[in-house]
Amino acid sequence: MTLTRRDVLARSFGAFGAAVLAFERFGLLNALAQSAGDYRALVCIFLAGGNDSGNVVIPYDDYSTYASARQASGLAIPQASLLRITVPSMGAEFGLHPSLTGLQTLWGQGRVAVVCNVGPLVEPTNRDAYRNRTVRIPTNLFSHSDQVNQWQTSVAEGTSSTGWGGRTADRTAACNATSFPPVTSMAGTPIFTIGSVERPLAIAAAPTRLDGALRLDGFPNPPDNDARYVALQNLLLVDQDKTLVRGASRVTGEAVAMERALRAAGDPAVPPFPLNPRTSLGNQLEQIAKLISLRNELGMCRQIFFASLGGFDTHNGQVVGGNPAAGTHAGLLAQVSNAMRTFYDATVALGVASQVVTFTLSDFARTLVPNGNLGTDHAWGSHHFVMGGSVLGGDFYGVPGPNGTVFPTLAPNGPDDTDEGGNARGRFIPTTATDQYGATLAAWLGVAGADLPAVFPNIGRFGPTTLGFLG
């Protein structure tokens, strides 16, 4: 009997049926005739709080425009400290934040691209349309919770109970040979990870061993004949008429099943991890690399992973006074760069560098014009990194805006700003929709063109559908 995860979930006691299957398969899968080459994974890194991408990707040739907005308040990264990158499509030099040495190296190898001025949009929006309200704009702009939801659901108006990671999994997981969940999170169960069918498995990050990344104490190994273990499972199947009880049992049922499955996982080494010293994001990406190393044993052909790093809501003390290349934001970016670079190297070592694409999301960018506390406030469109062997790296991507390029005009009260007048702060209107960014990634993972509107309901409003940064 061959059951897919979808078949299992369709059973009435889905989470529970999945249990049995998962651990049986784990032991059997080495013998399965699965095409080992057919594997692809997306890795989402959420930069929580709203990353100031205005200090991540900085014009080098046109540095003075940037500096005039940020230098007086002490936030301009000095031109001499920028990590220079050549951007062919812009015909110009740009600079990365000096903390991003690892990503600069990968940029030079063509493994990293930047997608510019992306954000939630209800429909294509320019400054006149925004100011005259002749377009619909995303709900509660500049609010953390709303923009986080919009980035993760790709629904910028109204609400959605599922995220685009989960919906992408709904449409790509059919080729997975076991009931191991296609979406695995190192950072809880954000809406990005929730599909209509698929639900995320949340596990502990490294240095927790992979075979202990879920653990249920107090039972023998194997536990299957333990009366209390059996009763624990049976209790998850009763009282299904109470909505919240049913929801809790769904989560616990999957947890118990997958705990059982992961007992056989060991703790594979994934050099060059671990990082020294360890970091939060490094630990998360290390655990993801371990799971990827077991892709064949787990019977996976399509996977989505989620990791998150907080601290980006830099209203205050974003940089050190007098030394804008140092401080809170610089530390966070160093962590991101080191973890991403190491993760890329681990995928090379595992032979899957071209089969794994890593990308960033964040609440929003921050005001080009800082506030008076060496900090920045909430804005809108932001720049993002995409990394992997299949990335057509070393260039910018996106939809050109009013200045004819994908990179916004860094001028308060300029053609890309929501704000007007002398107090304008540079909250740039995205020219690229999260829908297009997500659709490019989802299509690469395997969502058919005809299915993209089911994952990105508003994708039809934007052109082009995908952005071409993946080969």
Binding site: S143, R215, R228, L244, A248, V251
Partner: protein, 568 residues
């Protein structure tokens, strides 16, 4: 710690448990006494968990008297922590570093207060408020800075909400967390000293203005009195404010700085920043409020501040403008209902509580009246909620509530070291279950009020931190405290945590009686027959001579069940 009144009225644990069995067998209590199941439910909603003596006591005095006593009960305190310098001196290590540079002491006290304090209602409401009016270690590195703010929430939990908003706004800890502290007016071009005497080139920080409106008071959409959204002619929601409003409030909230520095600890000397007293208006040498933006401002619903008033006058007017907004009553009332009783209140329930909130606007005990109305409301009360008619009624116990409910039910002895706990390689504290006390990831706290139950349309805010990982960690906590103990581990875990099951052993020879008594204490008698059968099979499989094993297995299965995770 325990009040005299509880001691006097204490009945034995088994006595109380048996009392329930008798009730369940049809022996009626005294007229007008609340039933055992309804009393258990009330205590789940209004305290950190029912105990057998407390159930018996509340049954005796009735709900109304119990709640009035709770209002009068002396306020629990956090320890008075000395103020140390922001940067830890190299001489401060070990216990000194733990006590003055981590939240350990506050976390222990929160748990001990919840386990043993008598002002349970106040603490429970304060805990809810701490998740609405959030500050976090993310930006408040010293426990002495955190302590005063949390004490303010204890003190104000049954007080007046407008006053609380004012006190929170001027609290230096909130000032630091959301950047109203040192927020400064923008110098005009050309300079206008009467508007901004000593400003900066940059614009005022918007952080506090935005989150005060979005999270602490009115929310982003206009609400009806029942908490549902008002709709415009096209059927769309109506924003309560826009970016211009945020910028106007950001200008109101300028000019506040820390009160004069405090003396440092005796070991160190010198002075340290004042995170004890309310922030004060910055003044220049001629006593002019030189950091404040004194220009006119347009606040909510077109309310005009004419400018030129004192900072304090403006602040009061701005807080009045917010507190007077019709959204506050339904916005805050619904969240308090969700924290105490059910994630899915009916609009009519929200409307009844919002009316109490609004009527109490000028009452010094407004939040008591709101909490009382929440737990005495017909929608909160009753012995049993029928899943056929109210399938979504209930809330998931959040980690702190889950931990304290179990420990209180079984007469635990604990040092309160329950936030971050690793025993035998297993992480089982509240932080490990994604509720790290005083260290929420952001001002959005641990979970959003809008989160849904996985796979359902019902709201279930606490499900946002109920994952495969945390679900099993909850089970592992139960496994640890029911089958063993959290052992003492010097120096940071002085006594550990252990429960007392001695009184339960005598019930173990009769599995039905044992299960029924646990059902009464943990599930207010609502256990289904299917659940009872599954547990009985396990209990009966253990020799009767092994009474404690029977008790432990039964408790484990109930306490780890979804039926117990969900307070219904």
């Amino acid at each position: 710690m325990e009040s005299a009144v509880f001691r006097v009225c204490r009945t034995s644990f088994v006595g109380a448990a048996l009392a329930f069995v008798l009730l369940a067998n049809g022996v009626q209590g005294v007229d007008a006494q609340p039933s055992w199941p309804d009393t258990v439910r009330l205590l789940e909603q209004s305290t950190f968990g029912p105990t057998a003596p407390l159930i018996a006591y509340v049954q005796q005095v009735g709900f109304e008297a119990f709640l009035q006593e709770q209002l009068a009960a002396p306020t629990t305190d956090y320890p008075d922590l000395p103020f140390w310098p922001q940067n830890r001196p190299l001489t401060c290590t070990g216990d000194c570093a733990r006590d003055n540079y981590t939240n350990d002491a506050l976390q222990r006290h929160l748990f001990r207060n919840a386990l043993y304090g008598q002002d349970q209602l106040r603490q429970r409401v304060a805990f809810a408020l701490s998740q609405i009016l959030v500050v976090s270690r993310v930006d408040i590195p010293l426990p002495s800075w955190m302590r005063g703010y949390q004490q303010l929430l204890y003190r104000s939990a049954l007080g007046n909400y407008r006053q609380l908003l004012y006190d929170v706004t001027l609290h230096p800890t909130m000032g630091r967390f959301l950047d109203m502290l040192n927020n400064r007016c923008q110098t005009r071009t050309p300079p206008e000293p009467t508007v901004c005497r000593n400003g900066v080139r940059a614009q005022p920080n918007e952080n506090y203005a935005r989150e005060l409106l979005q999270l602490f008071s009115i929310g982003t959409f206009a609400l009806n009195a029942d908490g549902t959204r008002r709709l415009d002619g096209g059927g769309g929601p109506i924003p309560t404010y826009d970016q211009r409003t945020v910028e106007a409030f950001a200008r109101v909230f300028t000019g506040w700085i820390l009160a004069p520095a405090l003396p440092g600890p005796s070991e160190i000397g010198g002075t340290v920043p004042n995170y004890r007293d309310p922030m004060r208006a910055r003044q220049d040498s001629r006593m002019r409020e030189d950091y404040h933006d004194a220009g006119p401002k347009t606040l909510l619903d077109g309310f005009e501040l004419r400018g030129g008033q004192s900072q304090t006058e403006e602040l009061n007017a701005a807080i009045d403008n917010i507190a007077g907004h019709p959204n506050v009553a339904p916005f805050i009332s619904k969240q308090l209902i969700q924290h105490l009783v059910t994630s899915n209140p009916t609009p009519a329930y929200v409307a009844r509580i919002a009316a109490v909130f609004a009527a109490g606007r000028n009452s010094p005990t407004q939040l008591y009246e709101v909490a009382r109305a929440i737990v005495l409301d017909p929608e909160a009360r009753g012995d049993f909620k029928d899943p056929a008619s109210e399938p979504q009624y209930s809330k998931l116990r959040e980690p702190v509530q889950f931990i304290t409910n179990i420990l209180r039910a079984f007469n635990a002895t604990s040092d309160g070291v329950l936030n971050s706990v690793s025993v035998g390689g297993s992480a089982i504290g509240s932080a490990d279950m994604s509720q790290d006390l005083f260290n929420a990831p952001s001002v959005f706290s641990f979970y959003p009020p809008t989160a849904r139950v996985p796979g359902e349309t019902a709201l279930g805010p606490q499900f946002a931190i109920f994952s495969s990982l945390t679900s099993l960690r909850r089970a592992n906590f139960v496994n640890r405290v029911i089958f063993s103990t959290i052992p003492a581990a010097a120096p940071n875990r002085p006594t550990g945590t252990s429960i007392d099951l001695a009184a339960w052993d005598s019930l173990a020879d009769d599995p039905d009686r044992l299960i029924e008594a646990l059902n009464g204490l943990l599930l207010h008698g609502a256990m289904s027959n299917e659940m009872r059968d599954a547990i009985r099979a396990v209990v009966e499989g253990i020799p009767a001579a092994n009474a404690r094993a029977r008790v432990r297995n039964a408790i484990y299965l109930i306490a780890t069940s979804s039926q117990y995770h969900v307070q219904r």
